[in-house]
């Protein structure tokens, strides 16, 4: 019991010196849209911190593959419908974890801490 507490204390103390970093889930997003919506959809992906991996044209539709943080995609179904007049379709799956950029991480940390204080 005492060694468990000692181990836990040591770890919590030590981690503070190890540059703790927040990670977020990043999705692999596959969007199929009519060509005329291309500009709007790419612009939106950029504003969502997405990284476009590739675009393939097929007849008059475009297939975009991108890495996008999950946090930006929680409402993507209605958003994409609005951007494409209902014609856009997408699928996504978890791809990897990545560092959360500093300015966004600080907001998430602040939120988590205020939640914790509210609980206490």
């Amino acid at each position: 019991m005492a060694f468990k507490i000692a181990g836990s204390m040591a770890f919590k103390k030590g981690v503070m010196d190890c540059k703790p970093t927040l990670l977020e889930p990043v999705m692999l997003l596959n969007v199929v849209i009519p060509s005329e919506s291309m500009g709007d959809v790419i612009g939106d992906l950029n504003s969502k911190r997405g990284k476009v991996l590739g675009v393939e044209a097929d007849d008059d539709s475009q297939n975009i593959r991108a890495h996008v943080p999950m946090a930006s995609l929680l409402n993507y179904a209605p958003e994409l419908r609005a951007l494409t007049g209902g014609r856009g379709e997408f699928e996504m799956e978890f791809d990897h974890y990545d560092d959360v950029p500093e300015h966004i991480a600080s907001k998430i940390i602040e939120e988590a801490q205020s939640k914790k204080e509210n609980k206490e």
Partner: protein, 576 residues
Amino acid sequence: MKSYSAEWIRNVGLIGHGGSGKTSTAEAILYIAGVSDRLGKIGDNSSIMDFDPDEVKRGNSTNASLATFEFEKHKINLIDTPGTNNFVGDTVGCIRVVDGAVVVIGAETGVQFYTEKTWKWANDQGIPRIIFLNKMDSEEAQITSILDVVRKKFSVKPVLMDLPVGKGAEFKGIVDLVEQKYFEYEKDGKGIGKPTDIPANLADEVETTRMELVEAVAEADDVLIEHYLETGELTEEEFLGGLRQGISTGRLVPVLLGSALHNIGIDRLMDAMVQYFPSPDKRSAQLATTLNGEDTTEVATNVEGPFTAQVFKTIADPYAGKLTLFRVFSGKLTGDSSVYNVNQETSERVGQLMSLQGKKQIQLPEVVAGDIACVAKLKVTGTGDSLGPDAKDAVKFDDIPFPKAVLARGMVPKTRADEEKISNALHRLCEEDPTIKVERDPQTHELIVSGMGAVHLDVILERLKRRFGVEVDVKPPKVPYLETIRKSTKVQGKYKKQTGGRGQYGDCWLEIGPIAKGEGFQFENKIVGGSIPRGYVPAVEKGVHEAMAGGVLAHFPMVDIRVAVYDGSYHDVDSS
């Protein structure tokens, strides 16, 4: 209702964009067929097809509905589908089991995005199509511009079968280009057109449009075109044969006109369903897999073969319980028997066989190859499952290509009682609707329900409440953040409590550092010389592990960290 053999059956789906009038068209059809004694209106309780409280409240379809009726010696199984992304599962299921689809397009709005989507699904499954241009009574009604869009977007040849008589509110009838007769309708009447002479001022237009029609049909077939070029005409038989063939190959799409709301042109649409759409036995064989999972087999519509069927829809009926709707692809099924469910690998008792007219049930003595029917109270059978006679002769049909859920929400039951009921309730809803996905996030432990859109999720919530008495709070799903570290350090942790009696003493030195992404957690014992006895090391590891569950930044789990314990001290009595 008596049993019909396949050649006398038509399975027809109504598909298209929301608001184009699919359900109104179905209501008018059922009125003409004598199923209803007045024309049902959407958004009140008079509608046969939109009977679900969700649909009455919203004024649009949230479910596919089946209505079976007899018309001109045929039995027609009519499936009305919802016109939105949110309830796409029912449309995809319907397209699997029909042999013809009426694509309803509002003449005032033209082709809309959901028209395009449903068209594509029907095209992918090789389902013959007829276009019904509804709302010809609208002042904004268009024909030519819509057909141009159809031609361009869908790469098919739409052929106009009708010409309208009267524009906007004056729309009162249709010139049938095939029969070369004018059918005049009583507005909001019984829906039966009265044949009269073609108005003189339309004679020229009728002539040219009819030529286009005959030419288009002739072009669909090499033999026909030869004959047509020789004689300049087609016999009635040749014309109908060519048209049917053009439709079944998807090259020709007949376009009919009408107004469902005022019951104009609907009787002719019904004729077209019987005349133009193939009967189930004319449909090409369905692909299936044998039960060993290795061999592909083709199932033709043959009543002599073993019974095979696929479930395309499950309805929760407040009185009858669960209703399972299926299409029989071969063989036949009689009531009070049993079937083998291929997907669930178990047999099910089958009671009374029925068909439906909206929510009304009609008893059937048997269901033969090509027909659509339903049965109540199957225990484990869900939408998409294949049914067979027994484990020996059953086959598995290809899965119905239901799209994946796209919108996820976290659900928190409001009370303890809700919590106990929710998983059973969601399980039942998933059985009915394969576009609902339920999972528990392994990290945040949140219950995540996903669906096809915000309206779909709203309907799920309403069903949870109305049918199962379960209330939940809904919010966007929690993002499962993690924490890690980027640098290494060495640190001491010392826990000492020695104030009389049995004390506590533990002291360790740890090396903490990052490891490669995805490696999780590694722990190493590097103690030399017994500065901590071996028996205490697992406790150190456990302490570290517990600390990692809630990181220092925002209390998210920590990953990709290596910890080694390399030194420390202990007390003979107080350490544990």
